[in-house]
């Protein structure tokens, strides 16, 4: 665990409410993201995870405040802001025109003057990003002709090529096989170690449990924010998933296992064998 240094937050938001098509998706909440930290946003489907991420990426109109690197969102010129904050969305690309290399080069757009050809620094950044995601081999193939996992790695490289201080990722592990999920984990840890504030919405709880900080969401609110090492964070996690989650510690690493409704009753009866590892959480009488 990294100790939290008294930096000013890389990204800070105070949402009063966020409504989409007349429906309130996010209620009042506050969030501060520290530089050099990897934060994972987790929660059940429909909790508002992606909406929160889009909100702090400035992609959705909301009532509230948003500060990037200590500066109000509205005060940022578009290009400067684009250099400071990189975004990796979910299922957005339809491009079958551009090659992987050209796609990653788009990450350098905020660094380039209007219509100026890419500089050697741009090419170097693209190379580095594509090597980090092991996507350099298909640089000349059109994005639309790549498999889901390959495409995801190219899009990740595109976000990395921005070399921003804040990196927001929505479901970055989609389509990635386990070895590449592990690569992603190492990559994110490396980024955080170099001072980047990394934020990702994750469905893969086992990956999320390795983050520096967990934001546990439910029904448009943040239930808890803290290190997964802390018992109250894990308790909140089990709570928002309706207690249908076993959290097991294996070799110093927390794992989340789905629990079937029958198993839940068994847990309630406190009769699961590796009981010492399973968190005894508040169990309502059934």
């Amino acid at each position: 665990m990294k100790s939290i240094t008294p930096h000013s937050p890389a990204l800070q938001t105070q949402v009063q409410s966020l409504q989409l098509q007349g429906q309130t998706i996010l209620h009042e909440l506050g969030l501060a993201l520290q530089p050099g930290q990897w934060t994972a946003i987790v929660g059940p489907n429909g909790a508002g995870k992606s909406t929160l991420l889009r909100a702090i990426a400035g992609l959705l109109p909301m009532q509230g405040q948003l500060q990037l690197l200590g500066r109000d969102w509205a005060d940022w010129p578009a290009r400067d802001r684009a250099r400071a904050l990189a975004w990796l969305g979910q299922n957005e690309s339809s491009s079958d025109v551009l090659t992987a290399y050209e796609v990653v080069m788009l990450g350098r757009l905020p660094h380039q003057a209007w219509l100026a050809p890419p500089s050697s620094a741009d090419h170097a950044a693209v190379l580095q990003a594509m090597q980090q995601t092991q996507s350099w081999d298909w640089r000349e193939r059109p994005l639309g002709r790549l498999s889901g996992g390959e495409r995801q790695r190219v899009l990740l490289a595109r976000a990395l090529a921005v070399q921003a201080q804040v990196l927001l990722m929505d479901e970055p592990l989609a389509h990635l096989d386990p070895p590449h999920q592990a690569d992603w984990l190492e990559l994110v840890r490396g980024l955080a170690a170099s001072g980047v504030a990394v934020v990702s919405v994750l469905h893969e709880l086992n990956m999320a449990l390795q983050a520096d900080s967990l934001v546990v969401m439910q029904a448009g609110r943040i239930r808890c924010q803290g290190s997964p090492e802390r018992a109250d964070t894990r308790a909140a996690l089990q709570q928002v998933f309706d207690e249908r989650l076993h959290l097991v510690e294996v070799q110093g690493q927390w794992l989340a296992l789905p629990a079937a409704p029958s198993a839940r009753r068994a847990t309630t009866a406190a009769s699961v064998s590796p009981a010492s590892n399973v968190l005894p959480l508040k169990r309502s009488a059934e």
Binding site: G89, L115, Q131
Partner: protein, 352 residues
Amino acid sequence: MDGALPAQPGAGSEAMMLIPSHHKPLVLLLALALLSSLLVLLGVAVGSTGFSWSWLNSSEPVQEQILWQIRLPRSVGAWVAGGLLGLAGAVAQGLFRNALADPYLLGASSGAGLGVALLLVLAGTSPAAASLWLRMGLTGAAFLGAVGAVLLTLILARGVEQTMRLLLAGVIVGVVLGSATTLMILMAPDIMRPMQAFVMGSTGFLGWNSVLIMAPLLAVCLLTALGSSRALDAMTLGESTAASLGVRLPTIRLILIAVLALATGAAVAQAGLIAFVGLVAPHLVRSRLHCTHSWLLLLSALTGGALLLAADILARWLVAPQELPVGVVTTVLGGAYLLWPMHRKPLLENRA
């Protein structure tokens, strides 16, 4: 920002050499330029008597007159009009991130049609009215109609914030203005015949003045679109990603819609409603190579020009000394081109 993964050994120095090169678009560019020049030559040679090569180095004043004042401006005009449509098609497909988008998407065609119908009703169709003056008036009416329809679409969509609203508003404007035109034809059946020439598209009226109007517009539209080409590239990654890269989406959309309206309006005003050129030209380019929008826009314009000029030559030659409406030729050719892969694909999938 050092990543956690070790860089592959030696990759750094190799990288600069491995950067994808851009010679393929350049080859296509030169090929299209060559093809276009050849087509202009053909277009000058073909007439109501079929191909007449001897005319090309004739010094007879009548033949020279026909070559320089009728066939050459018509051929060049057809090329420029096709270029405008090809460019507009590429812009529309990039802007709406849809390979089926065409220049008439925002109601430009129905607007132009309504403009022409209105003027015909007002001016009457007496022989005296079929003058050069009316001809120019019709051009103006078609242009104003096309641009007006796009503006109406923008108003109905309440700006350019949402692509979906724009598309929907475009469809509505197209349908409503189209039925207004139909109603006018119903009430004043006399305008039916002159309307037909417009609806089917015609390159027969293109003269040097048409070229003088369209060519600068093509240059301006092409340069403006090229200036937005990187934003178009970014938009292929989704609007959120483009916005995160600092692309000012509303501004870019407004610029590109202006290009779309101007290019389409100019082409439609001079050559009528020519179908499929704007839709097919970008497809043809993409079927040849994968490239960024800067190349796609340029090559689509050149392809559109070559396409319409080729169609014009066919229209003049196929049933000489008669002439087919050029719009009919582009529709048949374009339809066949789009149907061909569709016809082939199910067979391949069944075999697999």
